[in-house]
């Protein structure tokens, strides 16, 4: 197509789609060639393209919480190697104190050259199955300093002019429990980089380097403009919200995450001042991750399908005092920082709900829980199983929260049970909804999910990062909280209740059951359409008793049909007597 003929909006649309297609191709290459569950099934990874300055110009529709962290990683790569980058180089880092966000996330990036001219970068983030350290799976929350968490990789060359740097591969191989999987997954990230490199070159070839660069500037500007328009439409003011993490699993007690969002014209400032100091447990969230949470949440209020690049970060400022749980300093442990990222997102959405009460959902539930089983089989072959559990959405201003849906700031899949059982010494005995777990509301929150594992090896380590046993997913506009999460060991035997975060030695036939918390409801449950309540009862998601107590809907115990008069009476009497008591 001869672009001299094109008016700008059209050329931009074409380049934008082309970039989206490229980062999709990268992600597909990564998923299809990856070895570990967490990458290939859960899709805990992201792929992106950056320009020569390291600006994020496109990210695949993969993981919003990674999106904001890529420019930071690129900053550290460029600071260290800027002048010495050569064709055929590939770089790697995972150190949260030099561009990363926690050790399992490997950032692998490849400069893209057209002849001898650098024209951009293909970038990938993949959550690796293991990085050594004290806890299999690299995601434990019981480390108290970064040095316990495994292999730290500062920005390094992984390939030098097309040749692998053997020393780096050797260090990785010797320091992880399952090198075949980890190196396989590193190869998958390299495949993605190559796919991105090839496609980016074709694209530049087509439009010419100069015009392509101009398009990138325009696309970044377009995203910025959409963000500014959206923010300008929000009423100026300060909106704060506080949510809590139950504890850090070591000694912290409850941990406040506080955010104050200030809208000034077309600028949005998210200030985490007032959040807890950094904690001993490994749930501290490095600054890039905290920033990502802000960007991901705010993006939900920007309409118009903006290009998925960093242009929309520009009107957004994130303030987080150093030494807090949302901007920790050395030697804070950070492996399980995902939890704090999710909680920060909950708090940000809480504040956004004050800005746009007719659009934002009540508190979702998902991402808090990570479960890993690790150990050795009878032949001393290692196994590491890791998965994150989701979740359901909070009630929304116009409809119920979705039951069983990934958190909106990531986009995970669950793991196929039959695959897990075929590959690991585990039996998954239950995966389903918990009755009466939804946060009641005019539009109810999603039901909680329960997953139950039976361990089939002689001995192993079970490590769990969870939360929401005390501080529950909040409701909005009179909607109720969801039910708490639970960890139970051997529910059909001794039924031992475990804390939200623990590491435990398990033996053959030990059974672990985790129930997630239920998501928050939206609006007064007594305003809920009785037909919807009756349907939930018929489906067994809500009990007939709860229908009466929480929703004021009286059902015939045999036919499940609505007893209209009784319901009316109950709702009226409750209306006069209710309020603060409930």
């Amino acid at each position: 197509m001869d672009a001299r003929e094109l008016s700008d909006p059209i050329l931009l649309e074409l380049v934008k789609h082309a970039l989206d297609a490229i980062v999709d191709e990268m992600a597909i290459a990564l998923v299809r060639t990856a070895y570990s569950n967490n990458l290939k099934n859960s899709m805990d990874m992201s792929c992106a393209l950056c320009d020569t300055q390291g600006r994020l110009i496109a990210q695949g529709m993969t993981l919003p919480l990674h999106l904001g962290s890529i420019p930071d990683a690129m900053h550290y790569f460029l600071r260290k190697f800027g002048d010495s980058v050569r064709p055929g180089d590939v770089f790697i880092l995972n150190d949260p104190y030099e561009g990363g966000t926690h050790l399992p996330d490997f950032y692998i990036v490849k400069p893209v050259y057209r002849g001898c001219t650098l024209v951009g970068w293909a970038a990938t983030v993949g959550h690796q199955l293991d990085v050594g350290g004290m806890t299999p799976g690299g995601n434990g929350c019981d480390a108290t300093e970064i040095f316990q968490e495994g292999l730290r990789i500062p920005p390094l060359r992984l390939y030098e002019e097309g040749r692998p740097v053997d020393a780096v591969f050797a260090f990785i191989e010797r320091n992880v429990r399952v090198p075949r999987q980890v190196l396989g997954d590193v190869r998958a990230q390299l495949s993605a980089c190559s796919a991105g490199e090839k496609a980016l070159l074709q694209l530049i070839e087509k439009y010419g380097a100069e015009r392509f660069a101009a398009c990138l500037d325009a696309l970044l500007d377009q995203a910025e403009r959409l963000a500014r328009n959206a923010i300008r439409a929000m009423p100026d003011g300060r909106y704060d919200f506080e949510d809590w993490i139950d504890d850090d699993g070591i000694d912290s007690g409850e941990i406040p995450i506080k955010v104050t969002i200030t809208i000034v014209g077309d600028r949005l400032i998210a200030d985490f001042t007032g959040s807890a100091p950094q904690v001993k447990g490994a749930i501290n969230s490095p600054m890039p991750f905290t920033k990502s949470a802000v960007y991901a949440c705010v993006r939900h209020l920007i309409g118009g399908d903006p290009p998925n690049n960093e242009g929309y970060f520009r009107p957004i400022e994130v303030i987080a005092p150093q030494g807090t749980i949302v901007n920790p300093v050395m030697p804070a442990a950070v492996a399980a920082r995902g939890l704090t990222g999710f909680r920060a997102a909950n708090a940000i959405f809480g504040a956004l709900a004050k800005i746009a009460p007719d659009r934002v959902f009540a508190c979702e539930m998902g991402g808090d829980t990570g479960v890993s089983f690790g150990g050795y089989d009878a032949d001393r072959r290692p196994f590491v199983f890791l998965e994150f559990l989701f979740g359901s959405w909070g009630g929304r201003p116009t409809r119920d929260g979705m039951d069983a849906a990934s958190s909106s700031v990531v986009n995970f899949s669950n793991n196929p049970i039959e695959i897990v059982e075929a590959e690991y010494p585990l039996l998954i005995e239950r995966y389903g909804y918990v009755q009466d777990s939804e946060g009641a509301g005019e539009f109810r929150g999603g039901s909680a999910l329960v997953r139950q594992y039976r361990f089939l090896e002689a001995e192993g380590t079970l490590q769990v990062r969870a939360d929401r046993q005390k501080h529950l997913p909040y409701g909005l506009q009179g909607g109720r909280s969801g039910t708490p999460s639970t960890n139970i060991l051997n529910p059909e035997g001794a039924a031992r209740q475990l804390p939200s975060k623990f590491r435990h030695t398990v033996r053959r036939d030990d059974v672990f059951r985790h129930a997630l918390a239920g998501a928050g409801g939206w609006g007064d449950p007594f305003n809920r359409d009785p037909e919807l309540v009756a349907f939930d009862v018929a489906e067994g998601k809500v009990s007939i008793k709860r229908a009466r107590q929480e929703y004021g809907v009286v059902l015939d115990p045999i036919t499940n049909s609505i007893l209209t008069e009784e319901t009316k009476k109950l709702r009226q009497s409750a209306h006069s007597g209710r309020g603060d008591k409930r």
Binding site: R32, M43, M61, Q222, A404, R430, Y431, G432
Partner: protein, 696 residues
């Protein structure tokens, strides 16, 4: 079938949501076509009407028809409109919610209003039985008869019409599912039953459950539909067997279709690809992309080395365009062989919008047939791609050759007010922009089946059809640097012609799940032969006694990966079978992903077998009868700011000859209009296809 080979008349019937296309093929290969409005209350009515007209035109009796081949959207519509049977599900204790939980992935990011489709079986109708197998098929807990009885009581109490049975690890051992089925057949003999171990004996519980449930859900609908059709055809005096197009492009008997209706979900789009593949073979173009653009969507599919590409999984009922192939969960997942077709929401009726940031979008919403584009004057008010095409002078200004009346002025006004003004462009520039974004929509579908699969689109020829394919294909091809576009005869009913090109085919799959390393060649060869024999037996049971073709393949991956590549196994009895598979797999992995992992163990996940009744090699090419379009004229058509408006001859297909003629040219026909843009040249090949050479 044998009658057809012996020289009977054959009939292709493609039922779509708006039109029912019929093609009657004479024994000497001459095709006559009819397009009648579909009758959605009872599709058979329109079919009967069309058949009567065709028979009358040809002057033959219904008894002369040797074979009716049918493509249908009935199963698809039953799902989209939620008009399937009252369906229950029997599953393993602890897993009643699997169907609803799905894979939990969001179909769109940053969208707080998104919804997922309601499960086809409501929770109340999902029943757990007490039993458990492990992944090798060993019984961990025997099946409890009381729990089966409880499930049957509930099925009876809820008055269900169909039941899916899907137990955990049933792919490895069907005994428990069969026990449930036996008990149900004894007590509820009229119930439509679907067993996961029969429909999809493949690992991954959600995918298997979803596929099994969908089969059960549409089974009574298809049964009823085919019974009604058969009765009516009987009354017409037609005794020919009915064959149904499957999603994978093969056809199956109507009896089999009633058992496996899930296999005909993509029946409609598949036929177009079959037609393209047959044409590709005829013109000697091994690498082809079929581009089918109608009113609401554009579909692209790849044919490589004359082979159609199939995938083993797709979603139905989700948003047409999810923006990314990675986002799933917007529709009902089906794991059943289907032609790999990428579909984007860009067609002639696609609505055109300008967003806050001044970006232009075409689709995915469509004006459909009602109210239609603004220029149709049927009540449409939002500008569409067709309105842009009329504004540009690409389409006739007052009346299409098919007789449809147009108002170019109305279309032009819509483009002026809704697009040109907010973008501060001239009307022509705006319309041209819409046209190019429409081309980009097709390009996205084409990229999805080429670039994203490691294939360079420049190595392919486009075969363009459907109402709008011929109008946009050449410009789209230019954007991807594809050099050549072919527009076949009768491009508007090309899919119906495809029905007559299809093979009778059965695809079988079986989970194997063993490492290639430890395999004895003989074991693998035996298992593959057994599966192939099973596929052949199916054919024989359906009365196909001719020479059958059989092909075997394996789905393989590096141990640890979750996604397989399908590797053909041409010679089962050759020595060194495992080594040959390892080499072929490594090569395919390298081609697709850019690397191989020598030394890493390879896992054989599934075995596959295909049996097909081959088309008679001497069968003559189908030659659609065409009516010349006498309205030779010319229009001023717009081709961008550099070229502006150019006098563009409007000609008939057969005005083209073997001498290349330079664009701009518009070729108007009953079915569709073909655009040869400036800088391209067109000629007619010996078979009457328009060949457009696209200059970079």
């Amino acid at each position: 079938m044998s009658m057809a080979e012996a020289g009977g008349w054959r009939l292709g019937v493609d039922v779509g949501g708006t039109f029912t296309d019929l093609v009657l093929l004479s024994p000497d290969g001459r095709a006559t076509t009819r397009k009648v409005l579909s009758t959605t209350a009872n599709y058979a009515d329109a079919i009967l009407q069309g058949i009567r007209e065709l028979l009358a035109g040809a002057g033959i009796a219904a008894g002369a028809i040797a074979e009716l081949i049918h493509g249908t959207t009935v199963a698809t519509n039953a799902i989209l409109e939620r008009r399937g049977a009252r369906t229950g599900l029997v599953t393993t204790d602890g897993f009643r919610d699997l169907l609803e939980i799905g894979r939990i992935r969001l179909s769109r990011l940053y969208d707080m209003d998104q919804q997922r489709p309601v499960p086809l079986v409501r929770r109340r109708w999902r029943f757990e039985v007490d039993e458990r197998l492990d992944h090798k098929g060993n019984v961990l807990r025997p099946i409890d008869q009381h729990s089966i009885d409880r499930a049957i009581d509930a099925v009876r109490a809820e008055d269900l019409e169909a039941l899916a049975i899907c137990l955990v690890h049933a792919y490895a051992n069907p005994a428990h599912e069969r026990a449930v089925a036996e008990a149900i057949r004894a007590r509820l003999p009229g119930l439509h039953l679907t067993l996961s171990s029969e429909v999809l004996p493949e690992i991954r519980e959600f995918e298997r459950t979803s596929t099994t449930v969908t089969n059960a859900y549409v089974m009574p609908v298809i049964d009823l539909y085919l019974s009604a059709l058969e009765t009516q055809l009987d009354s017409l005096g037609m005794a020919a067997p009915i064959l149904i197009m499957q999603s994978n492009g093969g056809v199956m008997s109507s009896r089999r279709a009633r058992q496996r209706p899930v296999q005909l979900i993509e029946s409609g789009p598949a036929a177009g690809v079959i037609a393209a593949a047959a044409l590709a073979r005829r013109v000697g173009a091994p690498n082809v992309i079929s581009v089918d653009m109608g009113g609401t969507t554009a579909k692209a599919s790849v044919i490589e080395d004359y082979e159609i590409k199939r995938s083993n999984e797709f979603e139905i009922g989700g948003p047409i365009s999810q923006g990314s192939r990675l986002n799933k969960g917007g529709g009902y997942l089906l794991r059943t062989p289907a032609i790999d077709i990428a579909e984007v929401g860009a067609g002639g009726g696609s609505l055109v919008t300008v967003d806050d940031a001044g970006a232009l979008h075409v689709g995915p919403q469509s004006a459909g047939a009602v109210p239609g584009p603004v220029c149709y004057g049927l009540g449409g008010t939002v500008a569409t791609l067709t309105d842009a095409n009329v504004t540009l002078g690409y389409l006739a200004q007052d009346r299409l050759p098919s007789g449809l009346v147009l108002s170019a002025e109305k279309g032009r006004q819509a483009i002026a007010e809704q697009i040109a003004r907010p973008l501060r462009l001239s009307i022509d520039e705006a319309a041209h922009g819409v046209y190019l974004v429409g081309c980009a929509g097709i390009a996205r579908a084409v990229r999805a089946v080429t670039v994203e699969r490691g294939r360079d689109p420049r190595d392919f020829t486009i075969i363009a059809f459907g109402g709008n394919g011929p109008l946009l294909a050449a410009e789209m091809a230019r954007s991807l640097e594809i050099g050549s576009v072919l527009v076949p005869l009768a491009p508007g009913v090309f899919s119906a012609i495809g029905l007559l090109e299809a093979d009778v085919e059965h695809h079988l799959v079986k989970t194997f799940n063993r490492s290639l390393d430890g395999l004895v060649d003989g074991d693998l060869a035996r298992e593959l032969s057994e599966l192939a024999a099973e596929a052949r037996d199916l054919m024989l049971a359906e009365g196909h006694t001719q020479q059958l073709e059989a092909a075997s393949a394996v789905d393989a991956r590096y141990a640890g990966q979750s996604f397989e590549l399908t590797v053909p196994v041409p010679h089962l009895d050759a020595p060194g079978l495992a080594a040959a598979i390892a080499e072929d797999f490594g090569r395919e992995h390298e081609r697709t992903y850019g690397h191989r992992a020598p030394g890493d163990p390879i896992q054989i996940v599934n075995l596959r077998a295909v049996a097909r009744v081959p088309q008679a090699a001497e069968r003559r090419a189908i030659r659609p009868a065409t009516e010349p379009n006498p309205n030779q004229t010319q229009r001023l058509a717009y081709f961008g700011p550099r070229l502006g408006r150019l006098a563009t001859p409007v000609i008939d297909r057969f005005d083209l000859g073997k001498e290349p003629r330079s664009g701009p040219l518009l070729i108007e026909e009953y079915d569709a209009t073909t655009l040869v843009p400036p800088g391209c040249v067109a000629e007619l090949d010996a078979l009457g296809n328009i060949i457009i050479r696209v200059e970079a």
